[in-house]
């Protein structure tokens, strides 16, 4: 009954494909711009361990494996047997002609669980999964193009509002 949820998003990033590929390929970089991802530990060339944290203090962890890897072109990954939530994704880097940056497409898919915990987990993967993926991808673009992620968190406001 639980259909897999699949979302995809494309953005153009003003950097060469090789640079983007290299940064993403080190999965330990992903928590810098993926909001709910707390930590990724890379075990070896193929295997890594992902930890997310979110509502209800639910932590979801899984081991992932790189399922396809084409240098400067594509990286695909999937959770392995025994994951809290089965999920997979890929990112494709496609250089635009005439030095107009790189089209970056990300597709992710996960199998939702039922129940309260299932719902909390669903939130981890995004209230609106499409917007969350879009926001994560935009933060990736900001980081690559500017070296930082634009924010106003922590700035002053009237009447000590936060």
């Amino acid at each position: 009954m639980n259909q897999p949820i699949k979302v995809e998003k494309t953005l153009t990033i003003n950097k060469p494909a090789a640079e983007l590929y290299r940064f993403w390929h080190n999965f330990e970089n992903l928590p810098h711009f993926m909001k709910h991802l707390k930590n990724v530990k890379v075990y070896d060339a193929k295997r890594s361990h992902w930890t997310t944290s979110g509502p209800l203090n639910v932590t979801v962890e899984w081991d992932a494996e790189i399922t396809e890897d084409r240098e400067n072109e594509l990286i695909a990954w999937a959770s392995v047997e025994g994951a809290d939530v089965n999920n997979s994704g890929f990112i494709r880097f496609q250089p635009n002609p005439n030095g107009r940056g790189t089209e970056v497409k990300v597709v992710t898919e996960y199998k939702p669980l039922g129940g309260e915990i299932g719902n909390a987990i669903a939130k981890l993967f995004g209230e609106s999964p499409k917007q969350q993926l879009g926001d994560d991808l935009r933060r990736f673009k900001m980081l690559m193009e500017t070296g930082e992620i634009a924010t106003t968190e922590g700035q002053p406001k009237g009447h000590n509002r936060s």
């Binding site: 003003n14 917007q131 500017t146 070296g147 002053p156």
Partner: protein
């Protein structure tokens, strides 16, 4: 520190708030020496922007001295665009926030920067794509704390901050932050050929700089339209012929003055508040806000109908949503071109500094009021209601 906060429609308060801190590596903190109230702030004051939140710090026209720099300025960060900045530098701050590294910044389209609006999703829902972040100008354009305050945090300081040489007073350079480049870009957008006639609706600060810029760029005649006597007088002092839209039928008068042909280019330096809103997601909120004030007359429609065939319509006036009853038939059949946008401030800074240093213009001419920061609430009221012959207010922290 003290800061001017928006607490609701026509509710401005000077409050004590925490000092801003460096958040990102390319940030700077500027101690503000002069700041101004802009016509754009009035759209917020009057409640026309549904993405304002109580407590937001206002202001996007400010300058001062660098008191702190982020880590990117110390460690040779590769994203730092290499502008050497140091604590103690005297700088002006463009109101548009630009990263310097995206497709748009690379093309000098600074106000369209891809990376400076943390709330880009909001703008994308309404407009398809997001413009750059702006200081003190609602959550739609990032929700950045503004510069009507004692201090401000400036993101991408290496790209934005512009150093001012010694010997120039604050009042001669403060308007580099917005209204001078805005008037200049609006005149540039008129594609002026030597001897052209340019008609400008709105003799507020933007209109005033547009008049002078149009002449600098080769216009033969400028016809300025407003109804406020002292603003029309200031336009006249700048060399414009003037029309009071309450006294004459503007379209007819313009035809008469141009031998029936119409002005070569027309400019809307008014903006359209009342009818300018109607965004799907924000429709009801906007409608609420709109009920609080009457519509402004429709400068843009008038301008399109008045423009000569094949002419150009330049729109520096701010719009946020949808506009009713655009004379699209006139626009299309007369083969007009429209150019618009938030100003690409960074593009004009050096040009305008040269102009001031050459003595072509002294931008302080537009200032009518100098107040203390604490007097901001009064300042908003005076400026909004055009009391006391007010045209431009500078606030001193």
């Amino acid at each position: 520190m003290k800061a001017v906060c928006w607490e609701g429609t026509k509710k401005i308060e000077v409050e004590t708030v925490p000092d801003p801190k460096i958040i990102n590596p390319r940030d700077a903190i500027v101690k503000i020496t002069s700041t101004a109230i802009c016509g754009s702030d009035l759209h917020l004051y009057n409640g026309y922007n549904p993405t304002m939140k109580p407590g937001d710090i206002l202001g996007h026209e400010f300058m001062g001295e660098i008191v702190e720099l982020g880590s990117a300025f110390k460690n040779g960060n590769i994203h730092n665009k290499g502008k050497a900045l140091a604590v103690g530098d005297r700088v002006v701050v463009p109101f548009t926030i630009s990263c310097g590294g995206c497709f748009f910044c690379n093309r000098s389209l600074w106000s369209l920067c891809d990376n400076s609006n943390p709330n880009a999703w909001m703008a994308e829902e309404m407009m398809g794509h997001s413009p750059s972040g702006l200081f003190g100008y609602s959550h739609l354009t990032g929700g950045y704390a503004g510069g009507q305050a004692e201090y401000a945090r400036v993101p991408f300081a290496d790209v934005g901050l512009f150093k001012i040489p010694d010997g120039l007073a604050d009042e001669q350079v403060l308007f580099f932050t917005d209204i001078f480049p805005t008037g200049y870009m609006a005149a540039e957008n008129c594609d002026i050929e030597p001897g052209d006639t340019v008609a400008i609706w709105g003799c507020g600060p933007v209109g005033q700089f547009a008049i002078r810029s149009a002449f600098m760029l080769g216009a033969g005649r400028v016809i300025a339209i407003d109804r406020v006597p002292e603003r029309l007088q200031m336009a006249k002092d700048g060399g414009a012929e003037i029309l009071n839209y309450e006294e004459v039928e503007v379209g007819e008068a313009l035809k008469e003055m141009t031998g029936g042909r119409g002005p070569d280019s027309v400019m809307d330096a008014v903006g359209m508040e009342a009818h300018g809103l109607g965004l799907e997601g924000f429709y009801d909120k906007a409608k609420q806000a709109v009920r609080l004030e009457t519509d402004r007359p429709n400068a843009l429609r008038q301008a399109i109908v008045a423009c000569r065939k094949g002419g150009t319509v330049s729109v520096p006036g701010v719009y946020t949503g949808f506009v009713d009853k655009m004379p699209m038939g006139a626009f299309m059949n007369k083969g007009l071109t429209m150019k618009t946008g938030q100003t690409h401030v960074h593009r004009y800074l050096q040009t305008l500094l040269d102009r001031v240093q050459n003595g072509d213009i002294d931008p302080s001419f537009v200032i009518t009021h100098r107040l203390m920061l604490e007097q901001a609430p009064q300042g908003y009221e005076i400026f909004n209601d055009k009391q006391d012959n007010c045209i431009k207010i500078v606030l001193k922290p």
